[in-house]
Amino acid sequence: MSAVIAGHDEHHGHGPEKGILRWIVTTNHKDIGTLYLVTALAMFFVGGAMALVIRAELFEPGLQFVEPQFFNSMVTMHALVMVFGAVMPAFVGLANWMIPVMIGAPDMALPRMNNMSFWMLVAGLLLISSTLFMEGGAPAAGWTFYPPLVLQTGNALPFAVFAVHLLGISSIMGAINIIATIFNMRAPAMTLMKMPLFVWTWMITAFLLIAIMPVFAGAVTMLLTDRFFDTSFFDAAGGGDPVLYQHIFWFFGHPEVYVMILPTFGVASTIIPVFARKPLFGYTSMVFATATIAFLSFIVWSHHMFTVGMPISGELYFMYATMLIAIPTGVKVFNWTATMWKGAMTFETPMLFAIAFVVLFTMGGFTGLMMAIAPTDFQYHDTYFIVAHFHYTLVPASIFILMAATYFWLPKWTGHMYDEKLGKLHFWLSAVSVNILFFPQHFLGLAGMPRRIPDYAVQFADWNMISSIGAFIFGFSQLLFLYIVIKTIRGGTGERVTSEVWEDARKHGLEWTLPSPLPYHTFSTPPTKIPTEHLGGH
């Protein structure tokens, strides 16, 4: 990768370190962004392999491959790896690469801490993965770690708890860094209400992270003391309450799932206008809708617990509060649609993924609304219906947007164009198979199949088989993504990309005013002219 770039950008001659040390000691936001993204992609395949173990076992009724206990470990580890190892780090990687460039800053505000938070993430991921090889197996109580069941975990429990602590510290440091960067490092001309939506959504996400990660750390620490130090926070025999854990967990857990979706909104709002060749519709309302969703995420947690036996007033309050989320979320979907309306659209791979995101995320939103209705949730709760719901909001939403972002910015990062034909093939394979995978799960849940079971009654056999077939197609299609990314890094189609990459992209964001590939150091002096297409060009 050459650091010799002609043009207007200033240079102090600081290239990256040579060899492996470059990656270990780096404080450069682009290098750290790459580290995060590569880690996330690796964990995506690890978590995906676990998902395929699950889907292989569920291909037919009867147990064919794994014991129930190991199945439960797979269910638990798949979720932990995907949430903490794939989706969250991937968005932190994007934030590292793009936020400084988008706001005209030379780097993140706290570059050494940036390096440290990445390596803590690695330590946490290694630690949680190591539990797979421990006596008694990996945690098998679900990623929610509900007591008392989680206290039956073998030797893995303290390691899992410590891993959560590490991952939490890493996230908090990452979040602090992002907030510090956005508040202190913006180019003077980049006022808050001119910031690209990706920066806005990440800033709000960062505040969520700082608020919730300590709560989760506290909850798992209480599990630790209940198990090893004779406390009884969650044990009725000692005056505690197992449901207390659920309240604490979901006070973390609900904002946590928005941590994985809010940056997604930001990326979609960045990509769609470029390919619609139109300003984003309703920039201000997008910012406020994001903030509203973030606020609501703190006051709806018990909708995960409608069946624990809350008083009727609690049930009703959490039902109403949850239904409210549909309003700002609807505003976002309407705004994206209005952005496309009367545009001059083209459908390169990033746009295809972004449109699929809007459609399929909305489907996840619909089922979310259905489950917000407490009485109907008495049927849906803990069935495959909810499995279908949250996978729609995570896979064809968060993951698809991560794909879109990769295709969108990879040419900018590498200076090489990806293979558009292969990209489109990857999109269609993914978009079709993800629906074969998850849509039948709605039927399974409604027909009465509980989640987290390794084996099922024979009337569920057919849709499970279809779902598993979809899972294998989807899983193996992602190898194509890996191939495309590697090929692009190593030269791509051979076509030299311009600084804009996409037609008129320069109007949409500061990153497109810089050369491709992005130089190792950018914006050593702040830019004075801010692209304002997202504000309607004024």
Partner: protein, 387 residues
């Protein structure tokens, strides 16, 4: 393979719009057999149709735009980018729709919550991995676990095709029997970890929480057999603790109650007589399969690191009193079987572990010896292998 073929045949039928496969391939929520479950179904359909309608409208606009407003058709991009009026409209319309949903939802919620004035009460306790039922008004009490045929077929590599097992994984050794046309209040709790009691036909599920009591109620109109499962992850055999509810007309229900009482009498007199060693071992084998094998494995080898082996275990081949105490009171994850087993079953399973599973201690535990030790335990326990 055959199923795959059937599947594609069925899919093509559905694609042809015939929809004949509805019964076998359930796609939608079941209506259930109570007024509440019907209300929930109606609510579900209402919201589903609202979502479908909104979906068609929004995606319709989007796909119209995707088709007509594309650069390749020479469409020139408009430059509008905000409209406060439009934003207000599409904030208010969803709000109104949501209020429309909240009203019927609240009504159903209030109905679900009203456990007052019940005709009878049944206490349900979740155990790893079985259900305990206690008829508070009738002094009937028993455990209900996965039936033997399903249990055999569900073992890894059992070689038994689940399709040949009637009601695979949805059948129990002893179902819960309730009268029709009675308001029945359920009280839920758990002995070890969280479970959730769910029979879709009744319209709801309720978590069972150790140390706390939850309430729910039902009123079943029609006699029938209604099946469900545990819905909250509760450990390795979470998928294998089904629920079967049989609703009977009052007269049939009364008959069943009488049978239960007679069986309890017979059980307690059986505990008084002297049992031979072979009788105890034979009976103990069944008790072991239903209560112990899920952790300690069918051959007694256990699961290293989690569940100790019984073959050659120092407890099992050691002092008899020691083993009795452990099984009676439990330890760690081992439940207190003194609360679960009858004197006969208890004596039989202890005798079996000491003289089976590769052990050969030679001694025998008589039910009459156990009887006084089980002072606090229920006396109306029925035989496990019945039903």
């Amino acid at each position: 393979m055959k199923r795959t073929t059937q599947l594609f045949a069925c899919l093509s039928l559905m694609a042809a719009g015939l929809g004949t496969a509805q019964a076998e391939y359930a796609l939608n929520l079941m209506k259930g057999v109570t007024r509440v479950s019907n209300d929930i179904y109606d609510l579900h359909m209402l919201i589903l149709w609202i979502c479908v309608f909104i979906g068609i409208a929004v995606f319709g606009v989007m796909f119209y735009s995707i088709y007509f407003h594309r650069k390749s058709r020479g469409h020139k991009a408009a430059q509008f980018h905000e409209s406060t009026k439009v934003e207000i409209i599409w904030t208010i319309i969803p709000t109104v729709i949501l209020i429309g949903m909240a009203i019927p939802a609240t009504k159903t919620m209030l109905e679900l919550d009203d456990t007052a004035e019940a005709d009878m009460s049944i206490k349900v306790t979740g155990w790893q991995w079985k259900w305990e039922y206690e008829y508070l008004d009738d002094d009937i009490h028993f455990f209900s676990s996965l039936d033997e045929a399903s249990n055999k077929a569900r073992q890894l590599g059992s070689g038994i095709d689940p399709a040949t097992v009637p009601h695979y994984l949805l059948n129990v050794d002893k179902p819960l029997v309730i009268p029709t046309k009675k308001k029945i209040r359920f009280l839920f709790t758990a002995a070890d970890v969280l479970h959730s009691w769910w029979v879709p036909d009744l319209g709801w599920k309720k978590d069972t929480i150790p140390g706390f009591i939850n309430e729910a109620w039902t009123y079943v109109e029609k006699p029938g057999t209604y099946r469900g499962q545990c819905a909250e992850l509760c450990g390795k055999d979470h998928g294998f603790m089904p629920i079967v509810v049989i609703a009977k007309e009052q007269a049939d229900y009364d008959k069943w109650v009488q049978e239960q009482k007679a069986a309890a009498e017979a059980e307690s007199s059986a505990a008084g007589r002297e049992w031979s060693k072979d009788e105890l071992i034979a009976k103990g084998q069944t008790v072991y399969a239903n209560n112990c094998a899920s952790c300690h494995m069918a051959n007694g080898e256990g699961m290293p690191g989690t569940f100790p082996a019984l073959t050659g275990s120092s407890v099992v081949i050691g002092d008899l009193d020691n083993e009795v105490q452990l099984v009676m009171n439990g330890k760690g994850m081992m439940p207190a079987f003194g609360q679960m087993l009858s004197a006969v079953d208890f004596a039989a399973v202890i005798t079996f572990t000491r003289n089976g599973l590769g052990n050969n201690v030679g001694d025998v535990l008589q039910p009459s010896t156990v009887q006084p030790l089980l002072a606090n335990s229920p006396e109306d326990e029925d035989e496990d292998d019945e039903g």
